[in-house]
């Protein structure tokens, strides 16, 4: 009798645990493009990616991987999160190199140029956009949480967020999602990216820029936020240890004085250490600021075409990426560029209306 | 005892005081009934019911109340 009750209790406990996991799986932050992008990436064939782009929206708006594949046969995939903070760059890289062995990792300087999040909510959201797209039971996820915790501790700001249980049991944070407008479980089933990581938006992708602040040019060397410097050094020592080929890049955008000054600092620092570091300005010979950008930090599709055109050539010349067209492993890339172009037409038509 | 049952019957005619033994414990009598009972008993028997006597056991049944009355009369 006693044993029966014990077995029953154990079964019950296991079921409750399974329920919690199911709920965590159902109500998670994954109807977001970053999550879809990662999901698609994780399903690619092993060792089929030649180069990896790691960073923020300053990458996924710019790089049309499918175009580079179509035209050069290279497989270059962006793993990006909106405003990916410096403290999750290592776990993100670890996640991205689990099944792939890219020849080069292109790192977005925007992750290191920014300010420390101005309040705890912002900090929390920045961190969780990255943490919560990582697999529930992965070490990279725990590392991302640990790094976030470390950052909070090192930052010593008054309004610091607290790492609570909701970072681990995401359900605590997201169970209220059903309240949102247009909520449906279909959307939660974690669909894949249809555009091989290229960011598509019904209006932004095809809109011109309405208003912008012109770049402030400066020769100043403005120091990074201490924490960005800290995580940059951590990142460098990790990639050195792993013997990864790394290059840094800032995609074209207008800049504030602070950003420009920090980019100067970064360029000096990284070049001295022997890294390739491209800080790209808006080259008037290539881009038209008003029609190729949808805001001062991001290109639209037309700008992305121009950027990809240029950067694909750059990669080909500098890193000898193979031509993979026709390779069985790379079937996923086939025809995606056409899908993108068709979708752009749809957006253009609806915008014209 | 007869006299007591008569007094109780006047206060709550809906209760059979000869049978009930958990008048207070089961909430058959509320505090206002107790007030009325105490006030009646004080008058009819000319006794002083003190706060120490206000226990559930003393009011749970007619029998218990009767015993309480006798005890108080005896002590006086």
């Amino acid at each position: 009798m006693k044993n029966k009750k014990l077995v029953r209790s154990l079964v019950f406990a296991v079921l409750v645990f399974a329920l919690l996991l199911t709920l965590c799986d159902l109500f998670e932050y994954n109807n977001d493009h970053s999550s879809q992008r990662l999901q698609t990436y994780q399903d690619l064939d092993r060792n089929s990616v030649d180069a990896l782009i790691l960073g923020t929206s300053g990458m996924d708006r710019f790089w049309i991987g499918a175009k580079a594949y179509e035209e050069h046969g290279m497989t270059v995939y962006p793993i990006t999160v909106e405003a990916m903070p410096s403290w999750v760059t290592i776990p993100m890289l670890k996640e991205a190199t689990k099944r792939q062995n890219p020849k080069v990792v292109v790192v977005d300087l925007r992750s290191f140029v920014g300010d420390y999040p101005s309040n705890s909510t912002k900090f929390d959201i920045h961190s969780r956009r990255a943490i919560d797209i990582l697999d529930f039971f992965s070490l990279t996820r725990f590392e991302a949480i640990a790094n976030t915790h470390k950052t909070i501790r090192l930052a010593e700001v008054e309004d610091a967020p607290v790492i609570d249980l909701s970072y681990f049991l995401t359900f605590i944070r997201y169970h209220g999602m059903w309240e949102e407008d247009g909520f449906s479980f279909d959307e939660l089933k974690n669909p894949k990216s249809k555009y091989m990581g290229f960011y598509m938006h019904p209006t932004w992708t095809v809109s011109p820029m309405v208003d912008y602040t012109p770049t402030v040019d400066t020769d100043e060397r403005i120091p990074l936020e201490p924490l960005c410097q800290y995580w940059l050094d951590e990142f460098l020592s990790y990639t050195e240890k792993q013997d990864y080929e790394v290059m840094f890049m800032q995609t074209p955008s207008t800049r504030t004085r602070n950003e420009a000054g920090r980019l100067n600092t970064l360029k000096d620092y990284l070049t001295e250490k022997g890294y390739e570091c491209l800080v790209l300005d808006i080259d008037e010979n290539i881009y038209d600021l008003e029609t190729d950008f949808y805001n001062d930090g991001h290109v639209n599709y037309y700008g992305a075409e121009k950027f990809t055109e240029w950067f694909a050539k750059y990669l080909k010349e500098n890193y000898e990426l193979p031509d993979r067209r026709g390779d069985e492993k790379c079937e996923d890339w086939e025809g995606v560029y056409d899908v993108i172009k068709d979708q752009v037409k749809v957006y253009e038509e609806s915008l014209a209306k | 005892m007869e006299k007591l049952l008569e007094i109780l019957g006047q206060i709550r005619s809906d209760i059979d005081f000869t049978k009930e033994t958990t008048l207070v414990d089961d909430g058959v009598l509320d505090s206002f009934d107790i007030v009325s009972i105490v006030s009646e008993l004080t008058m009819e028997y000319d006794i002083d019911i003190s706060i120490d006597d206000m226990t559930a056991e003393n009011f749970n049944s007619a029998e218990a109340m009767h015993e309480m009355i006798l005890r108080i009369q005896d002590e006086d």
Partner: protein, 536 residues
């Protein structure tokens, strides 16, 4: 640490584990340690207050016990030949000695409570009086008064215990640890129930072996409490805050009526849900705490309501205020005098009418140091005393009108009537002030906004509860209502459930669990409001 926090669940789990693993004779020590750790979460300075009260209570009770023992020893020494006069004399002197200690110790406990909770109220009231009489004086209120966690609850338990010992109801606790545990027991410290030593103390002296049913039933009761608190109360809360928190003239009577319904729902589910969690937690440790709520909104009269709502406070008031006042010399004298002059009916009526005013005045200020709570108490007292005084008139009217009081329709009428009377009393409490309360009550009876009532303007969803949440709230209230009706008809939910077959049973558990997990309001996005009764 809030009872609805994951921290509390973890804490309880740990306590349960340690509690059942240690040798049984140390179980009390585990609970005492746990209770003081729990208490420490609210602050170190607060600990001094509860410790002080505990020491005073412990020492005074032992002192009273000593005097009682001495009296008994003296009686025994004299033997059975004692004269009645001698016996009475001894009893009187012993009684006086005990009463002195009893009085002093109760006052000491009460004084701390009064200073902490009511000093500023008294100061402000005095200032108002100065003002009224044009006296040029001002007393400044004490800033940053520490209000220790659960001070009302443990002080009331301490006073009850001291009075009981003085009355000789049971022997004083010799074990300091057990008494300290009685006053600090962590499931009861935040919001009761208010325990009597005769019930709870005996359970501390018992050894508790692990019991599967206790753990199961306890967890079920806690889940039910979480449902009431997190799914219903916290969901209704924004509407209450929106309607009663703002400028009261902004809304019409129908909105206020809706607000009243939401508040009545919120406060019941918040408080009784918290009590369910407390009782459930205690049950997992093998303790049986008294019921504090018995479906109060099914009451057929206000007096009935006060037996069902916060019943342990009602019982405390009956035991230590109602009966003593009723049996007090002035009242009995008045009664006797009236009877002698032939006014028997009036003689009976006086205590029944005067006593409620004393009791409800205290219940009023128990809820808060503010004149609106006094008004709340007096309102209740008037209705209770009035219904006692007018009982014969009502009886005649019912007979004349040939109303069948056994019929369901009559019962329903009395329930609805009582509910409305109570709803109004709650507006007195919830409104920003007395003046606002009167305005709101008036508008409920004078303004009807049909657009709002029929939901034509959609305004109902703009008051802090949107359509989806309103739907969830509606379903949850239906569940609550269904369960309450079954309970009211004598069904013991947990026992009945445990007799069903396992598939049905587990289905119920999991649906309940999912409901609370998905629709409960908790987590970082919503900072679950502290229990409304937490500060009392």
């Amino acid at each position: 640490m809030a009872y609805t926090s994951l921290g509390f669940l973890g804490f309880l789990g740990l306590v349960i584990l340690v509690y059942y693993l240690v040798p049984k004779k140390y179980q009390w020590a585990v609970l005492l340690t746990a209770s003081y750790i729990f208490y420490l979460f609210s602050g170190v300075a607060q600990l001094a207050f509860i410790l002080g009260t505990t020491v005073v209570t412990y020492v005074s009770a032992l002192l009273m016990q000593k005097k009682r023992d001495a009296y008994k020893a003296e009686l025994a020494a004299i033997g059975p030949d004692i004269t009645r006069e001698k016996k009475q004399e001894l009893k009187k002197t012993a009684g006086n000695k005990i009463r002195r200690v009893q009085f002093a110790s109760v006052i000491a406990v009460l004084l701390v409570l009064a200073v902490v909770k009511y000093l500023n109220f008294a100061i402000e009231s005095t200032n108002t009086i100065f003002n009224v009489f044009n006296i040029d004086a001002y007393l400044s209120p004490v800033e940053k008064m520490i209000v220790p966690l659960g001070i009302s609850f443990y002080s009331f338990q301490a006073m009850g215990y001291l009075i009981d010992i003085g009355r000789g109801r049971y022997a004083a606790e010799k074990h300091f640890g057990r008494l300290a545990l009685f006053l600090s027991f962590f499931p009861t410290i935040v919001q009761g129930p208010i325990n009597r030593y005769g019930d709870l103390g005996a359970q501390f002296n018992k050894e508790h072996s692990f019991d599967y049913d206790n753990l199961k039933f306890g967890a079920q009761l806690m889940l039910w409490g979480f449902f009431k608190k997190m799914v219903i109360a916290d969901r209704a809360a924004p509407a209450v805050a929106a309607i009663f928190g703002s400028n009261y003239a902004d809304y019409n009577g129908s909105v206020y009526f809706f607000g009243m319904l939401m508040y009545v729902l919120q406060i019941y589910c918040d408080f009784s849900g918290g009590i369910d969690i407390a009782r459930g937690a205690a049950q997992t440790l093998g303790f049986n705490l008294p019921q504090n709520f018995e479906r109060p909104y099914f009451s057929t009269s206000v007096a009935d309501y006060w037996r069902r709502w916060h019943a342990t406070l009602g019982a405390w008031m009956r035991e230590y205020v109602f009966y003593p006042v009723m049996l007090s010399k002035p009242l009995t004298k008045i009664s006797k005098a009236l009877r002698k002059s032939g006014k028997a009916k009036l003689a009976k009526l006086v205590p029944s009418v005067v006593t409620p005013f004393v009791v409800f005045f205290l219940i009023g200020i128990w809820h808060g140091a503010n004149w609106k709570y006094v008004a709340f108490g007096l309102y209740n007292a008037t209705i209770v005393a009035g219904s006692v005084a007018l009982a014969p008139v009502f009886k005649k009217a019912i007979e004349k009108l040939h109303i069948n009081t056994e019929a369901f329709s009559w019962k329903l009428f009395t329930i609805v009537r009582t509910f409305l009377v109570l709803g109004i009393s709650k507006i007195l409490v919830k409104s920003p002030g007395l003046k606002a309360a009167l305005h709101i009550i008036k508008s409920i009876f004078t303004e009807v906004d049909l657009d709002f009532v029929f939901g034509l303007d959609g305004k109902i969803f703009s008051l802090g509860i949107d359509e989806k949440n309103m739907f969830v709230l509606f379903v949850a209230v239906l569940i609550l209502l269904g369960v309450s009706v079954l309970q009211e008809n004598g069904m013991k939910m947990r026992e009945t459930l445990s007799k069903q077959n396992i598939v049905f049973r587990w289905a119920v558990y999991f649906i309940a669990l999912i409901f609370v997990l998905v629709f409960g309001i908790y987590g970082p996005a919503y900072d679950a409001a502290d229990f409304i009764y937490g500060a009392y």
